[in-house]
């Protein structure tokens, strides 16, 4: 099977993730969309690794997973602390600093 199809799939997933970040209101869902974008990057890395016949892309995919995990730790900590003090995880409610 032509690996280029996986690149199309990766771009599609990335676009869905990016659109989700812009459209969705709940901070958790926005964050899940960011994770989807990172996974799309992983798919692209692995596909290119296969295309070029070297392992760099597959190694980078592992690094990306670790980074994504670290981001979850930090991100959920922040989102949960906001939720506890405001009882809302909507990104639209966070507007104390508007002029």
């Amino acid at each position: 099977m032509n690996p280029v199809y996986y690149l199309y799939l990766a771009s599609l997933l990335f676009t869905i993730g990016a659109a989700g970040v812009l459209i969705r209101r709940n901070a958790i869902v926005v964050f899940m969309c960011v994770e989807l974008m990172l996974n799309a990057c992983n798919l692209a890395f692995v596909t290119f690794s296969r295309l070029h016949g070297n392992l760099d892309g597959q190694i980078i995919a592992f690094f990306t997973m670790v980074v994504a995990a670290a981001e979850v730790v930090v991100g959920l900590a922040i989102i949960v602390s906001v939720f506890r003090s405001r009882h809302s995880a909507s990104v639209d409610d966070a507007s104390l600093m508007k002029l």
Partner: protein, 550 residues
Amino acid sequence: MSATVVHSLWTTTAAGGIDKIPSPTIEYAQLAPTLIVAGAAVLGILIEAFIPRKGRYHAQLFLSLVALAAAFASVVALAAGGYGTTKKHIAAMGAIAIDGPSLFLQGTILLASVVAVFTFAERRLDPESHGNRVDSFAAQAAAVPGSDSEKAAVRAGFTTTEVFPLALFAVAGMLVFPAANDLLTLFIALEVFSLPLYLLCALARRKRLMSQEAAVKYFLLGAFSSAFLLFGIALLYGYAGSVSYARIAEVVDGTVQSVSPALADTMGNDALLLIGGALILMGLLFKVGAVPFHMWTPDVYQGAPTPVTGFMAAATKVAAFGALLRLLYVVLPGLRWDWRPVMWAVVIVTMLGGAIVAITQTDIKRLLAYSSIAHAGFILAGVIAATPDGISSVLFYLAAYSFVTIGAFAVVTLVRDAGGEATHLSKWAGLGRRSPLVAAVFAVFLLAFAGIPLTSGFSGKFAVFKAAADGGAGALVVVGVIASAIAAFFYIRVIVLMFFSEPKPEGPTVAVPSALTTMAIGVGVVVTLVLGVAPQYFLDLASQAGGFVR
């Protein structure tokens, strides 16, 4: 490429036995600055675990300052050993570049961090609560603001001493960021310095809701932009078959020696190169705070605890500009005719946008945030010069700018009323009558931001604009000067407000700081004046450091 070939890459080495895998050579001495700071950050975590609460503050402060000083000493030792000029090379199996710009920027980041740590450690500004001195950070980050558990934490005198190791982790990432010599290291360094900053933003003692809001905004937008950066890295990897800067530059220039059939195929696909390059540029411009990607800057700068804002505004900018310079000068010089027009547009909207929107601001921290956007535009003007002078002028500007910024935000922490810092501009009216010294110091910083002669801002701006004009961007310099004039208007307006209007009876008071903040502000003033009056030595230093290793 068949699946068996890729599979065999994993299996052949393993079948050959573990001793067949060559061990990587790491030049530990040359990586010492980063290793010292990262090691101290890990030690800081252990201090949190094992030292009793009473002793943590002093232990953490001592450890942070010693580590940053030791790291700075090793940067100086490397520079004196010629690693910035004659012995510049690529260390750690191609991951880290040891050269003039990386050593200069690492030195700048470390000095700026020392000053920032002074402001982190300040415990005299807030009145004592329950007999305990308190700093700018929340008593307990996990406690809901205004809840019983928070009151209990305040009564018990808890402090968030974790800010010191968090800051050290961020500094370690920032030290790697401008020195990264492959795209994977670039991405990891970006995350290593961003994640602690997201947390630091959420830790303000006063106005916690605003602080948490700033953190959530910074985090979501930062993660969004780093996903774009990562996808750009994936596309460039697909284009060149490697993430090493040198290799990608060769493929872009078409001077690559051995071309496999797969590489010949992807090399012909300019879409991979152009989209990949653009996405990586986007990720870096976000960290720099350039205009289409600046939306987070005012909110995060306003909401974050002011010492953190100063640290972020100075050190992040230095690190991000270093990475941007290396990307444009080492990886993508072959694409110069494609990225220069785009960057022209970014520079113009950044300079004008930052300066014009700043005029309408009524909060001093937001004002400084928009001013930092305008300054990002000025620095970018030097970046697109694409000449050796461009590099050295940007290095000088970054060094000058970072100390002014930390100093200015340190002054902001001093002006307080019952609700904490009085950041609304109307409260600053007549400050010059009430405390002339603080107002005068702040005026010096504002004049430096405006680029008035005899301050570091003037020498920096002059160097950057001169490099841009020599690099064939004369029109850009004209726009830059107009933007500076607009920016000068609102800086001068604050000075006029401080000195020539009547103080209000219920106005804010100026807290008397301990030696720590005094030192931070003092260093800022001294650097501002020295770089303004006698910049030549430092300009020479920056131009000696101006050569990237390829």
